[in-house]
């Protein structure tokens, strides 16, 4: 048991090294970074963070990203729940084909859709809104949410439904008060994955926004052009993009461990 734990420890160290380097760099001045190699910040500075928190063009990037990611997660889970229920409980015409077609949408390279998406969302006058990015990300998040939720629902015995109906529950009441609570873990895992894939995607988010809804990850590219190559600032902005993800995963940590196990296993 003790000897085995070497593997995860080494793996986690490997994962942490680039992250450490990013964080360490965010506390350095640009001069120090360019002057040469230093393992720890020699002149510890918070200036990079101060710039981000005082400049609206920086911190609005965070607000925008969090806004569209949240909208996307809510929409994805809300529509995926009934669909996953249908797939897990009923047979209907074209169900298998429909399920596979949904999955194929995860296979389309985002690069393929960038330009048509721009035209589509300009045409419906949603360009540069949070809703546009949230809806666009549904393309790959809804199929994933349906896939995960269907797995969890398959683990709930059908007798639960039948007993509830015999007891006189209406369908909506059964679904909201009995069924959804019984797959809480699945909802947690699905929401986590939706959050994750929407938070990390940039190509579509960048294509569909200009100013008002510009994501933080796109704001970062401006450090490369306008003010030379401000590595310290870039590192600080990068470090801050890790934090929301870390918070979300901390909340669902127990669902991830136990939750998956109840799913499609």
């Amino acid at each position: 048991m003790q000897k085995r734990s070497i593997v995860p420890i080494v793996y986690i160290l490997f994962l942490m090294l680039p992250i450490y380097w990013l964080v360490a760099m965010s506390f350095k001045t640009t001069n120090e970074i360019l002057a040469g190699f230093s393992l720890f910040p020699q002149t510890f500075t918070l200036d990079n963070y101060k710039t981000i928190f005082t400049d609206p063009s920086w911190y609005w990037g965070y607000i925008n990203s969090i806004a569209y990611v949240s909208i996307n997660t809510v929409i994805s889970i809300a529509v995926a729940l009934p669909a996953a229920y249908a797939f897990s409980r009923y047979r209907f015409l074209g169900d298998k084909q429909l399920f596979f077609w949904l999955l194929t949408n995860r296979m389309a390279p985002a690069a393929v859709f960038a330009l048509p998406f721009f035209q589509l969302y300009s045409a419906v006058e949603l360009f540069d809104t949070h809703l546009a990015v949230a809806l666009a990300h549904c393309l790959f998040n809804i199929p994933l949410a349906v896939w995960i939720l269907e797995g969890f629902m398959g683990g709930v015995p059908k007798e639960l439904d039948e007993t509830a109906f015999v007891d006189g529950y209406s369908f909506p009441r059964f679904f909201a008060t009995i069924f959804i609570p019984s797959i809480k873990a699945g909802v947690g895992v699905a929401a986590f994955f939706c959050f994750m894939f929407s938070w990390v995607e940039l190509l579509l988010a960048k294509t569909l926004t200009a100013v008002a809804a510009k994501p933080i990850a796109a704001t970062m590219t401006k450090t490369a052009s306008s003010a030379g190559y401000e590595l310290g600032l870039l590192a600080a902005a990068g470090t801050l993009t890790i934090i929301p993800g870390a918070i979300v995963i901390w909340f669902v940590r127990n669902y991830i461990a136990k939750g998956f196990a109840m799913g499609r296993v």
Binding site: R4, I6, P8, L15, M16, L17, P18, I19, Y20, W21, L22, I33, L34, G36, F37, L39, V79, P82, A83, F87, R89, Y90, R91, F92, L93, D95, L98, F100, T104, N105, M107, A108, P109, A111, V112, L115, P116, Q119, L135, C138, L139, I142, M196, W199, V200, L202, M220, G238, T241, I242, G245, A246, R253, A257, F260, A261, M262, G263, R264, V265
Partner: protein, 287 residues
């Protein structure tokens, strides 16, 4: 088992409407471009299947496709066994489980261009941690902006860093679902570690592994942002994967027709390979 009920379609309708809006309309736009030529001003000429023939015969496409398959092959061959091995050696319960899971999931939650930028500053020859270590401590000459091999090693290492945890998390979920009684039975029978893995653990992980392999295939085959930020497709064209090449044609040269034709061919290949994986791996379930 499942009851036949056509009304179930109503439950699926919202999903269908949202996904179709996002998938079918842009797809039709792409199909539209792929059979036409334009010289700007929204004037289009019918081009038939010329673009498709041109792409399928071009050396540039073959080269990018070859690099793409090479990349995806390396990713799967490294990440899947490594992920399983790490999942097997993780503790099953106790305080360290959530800590491990949270730390391991962290790379997956970093925006993709930040991942690219992060590996860029990590590997800079003189001021990056890895670059400095390799060049000045180990004395290995390493500069991925000059050396195609170094660039390849870097993008593959970056992807292993970024995504192996997905395989770990999914395999681990499969492992913890195995009841202790199975292991006790194996112990009584005197089964070797290999036998336990082959006949108890692997079958239990099969469904989650199917998901993991499919997701890893699709995402590594469609990868764009991380290698683009890290190497920009260089040095030369050595790390120009399919998506990077596609964006170069579509937005760099603004050749909409060829880019659209290439998109459709690209999508068809992804679809075909995914379908093969899916059918092969779920074959036993259907019987």
């Amino acid at each position: 088992m499942k009851t036949e009920n056509q009304k179930a379609w109503f439950f699926v309708l919202p999903v269908l409407a949202l996904v179709a809006f996002n998938a079918l309309i842009p797809m039709m736009t792409v199909v539209n471009y792929s059979v036409q030529e334009t010289f700007g001003d929204n004037v289009f000429f019918w081009q038939g299947l010329d673009w498709f023939q041109q792409i399928l015969r071009s050396d540039r496409f073959h080269a990018a496709l070859g690099r793409q398959f090479m990349f995806t092959f390396l990713i799967l061959i490294i990440e899947v066994p490594l992920g399983i091995a790490i999942a097997l050696s993780m503790p099953r319960k106790g305080f360290w489980v959530p800590v491990c899971l949270v730390l391991m999931a962290l790379p997956m939650l970093i925006p993709w261009n930040v991942v690219g930028a992060m590996w860029n500053i990590f590997t800079l020859p003189d001021i990056g941690l890895l670059g400095y270590f390799l060049n000045h401590v180990l004395g290995i000459s390493y500069d991925m902006t000059q050396d195609p091999v170094a660039a390849w090693v870097t993008i593959v290492t970056m992807d292993v860093w970024h995504w192996t945890s997905l395989v770990v998390l999914l395999s681990y979920a499969g492992l913890v679902s195995i009841p202790d009684a199975y292991y006790q039975a194996a112990k009584i029978d005197g089964a070797s570690n290999w036998a336990v893995f082959r006949f108890i653990q692997l079958p239990k992980m099969k469904t989650v592994l199917t998901i993991a392999i499919l997701l890893r295939f699709m995402d590594s085959f469609n990868i764009y942002t991380e290698p683009f930020v890290l190497t920009g497709g260089g040095p030369g064209n050595s790390t120009t994967l399919l998506s990077i090449d596609l964006v170069k044609i579509a937005l760099g040269q603004f050749d909409l027709g060829p880019a659209a034709a290439m998109s459709l061919i690209y999508f068809a290949i992804t679809l075909l390979v995914s379908w093969l994986f899916y059918t092969l791996m779920t074959k036993d379930d259907l019987n």
